[in-house]
Amino acid sequence: MINDKNSKKIVDIIQDFSRRHSLFVLAYGTGCGAIEIPPTMTSRYDAERFGIRGMATPRQADLLLITGYLASKTLKRVIRAYEQMQDPKYVIGFGSCTINGGMYWDSYNTIKILSDYIPVDVYINGCMPRPEAVITGFIELQNLIKEGKANGAQKYKENLEWYRENQKKVIKDWKMPDYNW
């Protein structure tokens, strides 16, 4: 009905506009980047201007912000949280250590490339990125949503086996159900 491919109806335009301007971020500080989230959200930089606000549980959130390196123990929880989120959902990789290990390239306990494990829509580099950079990242994501390119979740569903293989390589003891939407 709404997702008709050929025509962009008024419904789609409203829907896209509201998706773009209302991003609920899951309040999960997975790494040290979490320290730049309070300044981004509070009075100096005020990300709420763009409709970005924190949400307490994965069920309500649209955006998973991976704030920095992920220890393999955290990766398990992040996958859980990511799969509990409802479509459409987006991931922002925050900090150099999510891109290629960064400062922790030789650490035995942190994953190196985040997009091997969960699909990432936007990367923000820096150690750590300034709040301005974080907001730029959010706006970049908004542009991607506008162009219809922020389809990480779809990619995840299509290539689930590949992602699972990578995840199981790091998480030795896989006690989770195979998929928990």
């Binding site: 306990n109 091997d116 390589k169 030795k172």
Partner: protein, 193 residues
Amino acid sequence: MTDTILDKEQKLVQLLEQTFKKLSGKVVRQRRVTVSVEKELVPSVLSYAKSQLGYIHLSHMSCVDWPENNNFEIIYILWSPADKVQLFIKTLINRENPEIDNVDMIWKHANTYEREIREMYGIQFNGLVGAQEFILEDWDDMPPMRRDFDTVEYVDDNYTFRPGREDAGDVREEIVKRSGEDIPDFAKKYSRD
């Protein structure tokens, strides 16, 4: 430093050496005293220091790996709020069969340190209660903080990197090649060889 300043430190060493025969101590500097003991004596020295000498605060507890000498060194760092002296109690244990008595009945929070050391070095603390996993999860390699654990090898086995920089070599030449600029003078000084 004159002797009068180090008075209480030296008294402490004398007192400890008199009480425990197999113990050697030394004053490092003001407010720092180091004592070496056999591993069997550790609980008694600690409880003596806590109950009799006023060293009631366990500041820190650490472990150092010395594969050259084939032993682990365990260090208990105590603090006396009254004397204001930091007392180091060091003991060596064999690396082949590492075990030592636990001291969490003296200080409850020693439990945390011991669980960490058990996990990171694989040292058995006799009578230690608490979940085996403290920091790591599903770890199947050798305890990671041992010197012979090679973290780069582990990383190569378990993780992949983005292509682009295969070696850990000098990036400056590459920068020169790509940008056409000279290496700045301050950067030239710090060469690897």
